[in-house]
Symmetry: C2
Subunit: 428 residues, 2 copies
Amino acid sequence: MAMATSPHSLLLQNPTPTFLKNPKLPFTAVPMTSTRISPTTTAKPMSIKCAATTTPIQDLRPNPPESQDRVFNFAAGPANLPENVLKKAQSELYNWRGSGMSVMEMSHRGKEFSSIIQKAESDLRTLLNIPQEYSVLFLQGGATTQFAAIPLNLCKPDDKVDYLVTGSWGDKAFKEAQKYSKPKVIWSGKSEKYTKIPAFDALEQTPDAKYLHICANETIHGVEFKTYPTPKNGLLIADMSSNFCSKPVDVSKFGIIYAGAQKNVGPSGVTIVIIRKDLIGNAQEVTPVMLDYKIHDDNNSLYNTPPCYGIYMCGLVFEDLLEQGGLAGIEKKNKKKAELLYNAIDGSNGFYRCPVEKSVRSLMNVPFTLEKSELEAEFIKEAAKEKMVQLKGHRSVGGMRASIYNAMPLAGVEKLVAFMKDFQAKYA
Amino acid sequence: MAMATSPHSLLLQNPTPTFLKNPKLPFTAVPMTSTRISPTTTAKPMSIKCAATTTPIQDLRPNPPESQDRVFNFAAGPANLPENVLKKAQSELYNWRGSGMSVMEMSHRGKEFSSIIQKAESDLRTLLNIPQEYSVLFLQGGATTQFAAIPLNLCKPDDKVDYLVTGSWGDKAFKEAQKYSKPKVIWSGKSEKYTKIPAFDALEQTPDAKYLHICANETIHGVEFKTYPTPKNGLLIADMSSNFCSKPVDVSKFGIIYAGAQKNVGPSGVTIVIIRKDLIGNAQEVTPVMLDYKIHDDNNSLYNTPPCYGIYMCGLVFEDLLEQGGLAGIEKKNKKKAELLYNAIDGSNGFYRCPVEKSVRSLMNVPFTLEKSELEAEFIKEAAKEKMVQLKGHRSVGGMRASIYNAMPLAGVEKLVAFMKDFQAKYA
């Protein structure tokens, strides 16, 4: 019998494993000349006849999702997504569940995408236990668009509103609100480099302020609200972009919660707004239609074409969070990761320092500096060699920042901590 | 020798094809007891020893991208994407080109994403031959946000502007502009059900209008500008959402061209704005920061987090268009497809009717009705059985609509035309 000239040819007989039935694979199945193997017969010697083929071996699958190719990505957003979510998205990118099209190709008004957006909303409602009196909107434009949308929708131009500013993002929200309302910064952490949150009873809230605005987690400065102030007039607004779905939240305390997805729950391009329904419907006349909550609410986020693929990705993340048991369990995991890292910093005898007041340190974003600041570039460089990337601090702050969102595995934090210890041993 | 108890177990010897090295596959490689097969030796009888395993067969690859699973998707947007673009996106979703992360996880300010957005812009400039005096912006918020952004950026509230309304989208743009300027509809096709474009010399343009706005292709009504009017004051603004990159355009004729990506060039969530630089920088005070062209231009679309994955997808589409030889060739293909379909309609003895004036019929969106309108539901249903979907006309218009963007293959139009002939034969 002729022998194989290509080592990539094989002769196999029934039953043929599924993968071998694929005609695209680089070998040809050639019938065997001897008896079928069956579980009950004794082995007989057989000849293996190989058919030559000129088809070169190609790995026709997409790059196998080998975890060893992944880096530990400490970016602040866009950020890590859960590996299983990415694999699922990859597997169904070309043809979503037998529909014959990608999610990216679906009509946003068709039945397939309707099921996707409805499930995403439903799962989010479950995760956050969102009361029925709240609408959930999936919008474009980032949290930065909401900085304008909120005063535009809730205020007349002369209305007073209070901003409690604990970092750069609260400050940006305040500045944008100046165009559409009369905002006041009732407290700012700026003079202390945004390392604190004040005691709430010490706050001097404006008596007739329409709302009190906070940024629940300041991404750049690593300052996170653990409890929330009670607004004098009952309306608390929170930017939760960088800690959304990282822990349970009592939505009923808020008038509006908004979040860019691209920290904890999806890719960039989707902004989620959870808004109490009675607050909808009084937008100022200069409000662009795309910033008018009533338009979006009346149309279930389908007034125009929503960011469909981003919403789909958020939906996969919500499912994954539910499969992990929901936000109470997620919070535990996040606390464990954060504790590991903060302990490493605090236990370094000053080699590493985190300036944030301990009681308000973020579980999501951990800024720190090196006592020997001249070593910071080396730290970044050596960490990157160890496949830990995006550790550089925000350009407005310098130093280092490790963002450890939901999807950062414990292993990533452990590796970082081990690296930090080694680095210290090397350079102390 | 023990025989296999599971038909899914095989014994294979070196060289082991790549896929068999994967430990996740459901069988175990067990060393053969006989001589290696080599290309030069004669076949020797050998025993095949199979190791039993209980791992069930699973197809571990993502669903193979078989074209026969695809439908012909005539949706108006989101819409078809080129198959090779989808396959490429799928293959690199989990790990983009060795970076160890997905595009969805990249910092928008990192070197990987910088290369992506810069290449996308560069390729678009090549495709459309965009002069250097123009900026290219990748924004969120859809064309609908641009309806507000354009008058906000180009006008004072009392400035007059002209709108030439040839369909629903031009009408929406006009209505939004009323908030921020003094717009006038200088011509409307509404009384003739949006089936025409007027002769340009008959237009009564406002002498001191800041700009003249057109919708270059009306998605709902299938009316497309083949040539462009000359604005009295030199500033022509065009919404090209639904024919962007379907044919060459002389960008220098326009002050601004804007387009939602989700017809011809990408998924939803990205809006491309091509704007002459001298028009940037005079936004009204009430302009939300996210609608201010200067903010975006100064920051190369990275003022805040852009819609990264959508921009990446657009980049893949631009590469694909360049590989096809650019927009002149694309236009030829589109003309051929459109001609096939319009001829089928016009040659049906009135069984099918397209109401649009022949000289302005869109190459992208083909609306038509059945003489026997009671058959329309059946038409949709039977077409869907043949895997041609999303043929229903826009809800404001009824009837049928076939959107045949760049990525609709000729085969899809041929199939539709054949189906239409059969359907007519069946029901005439």
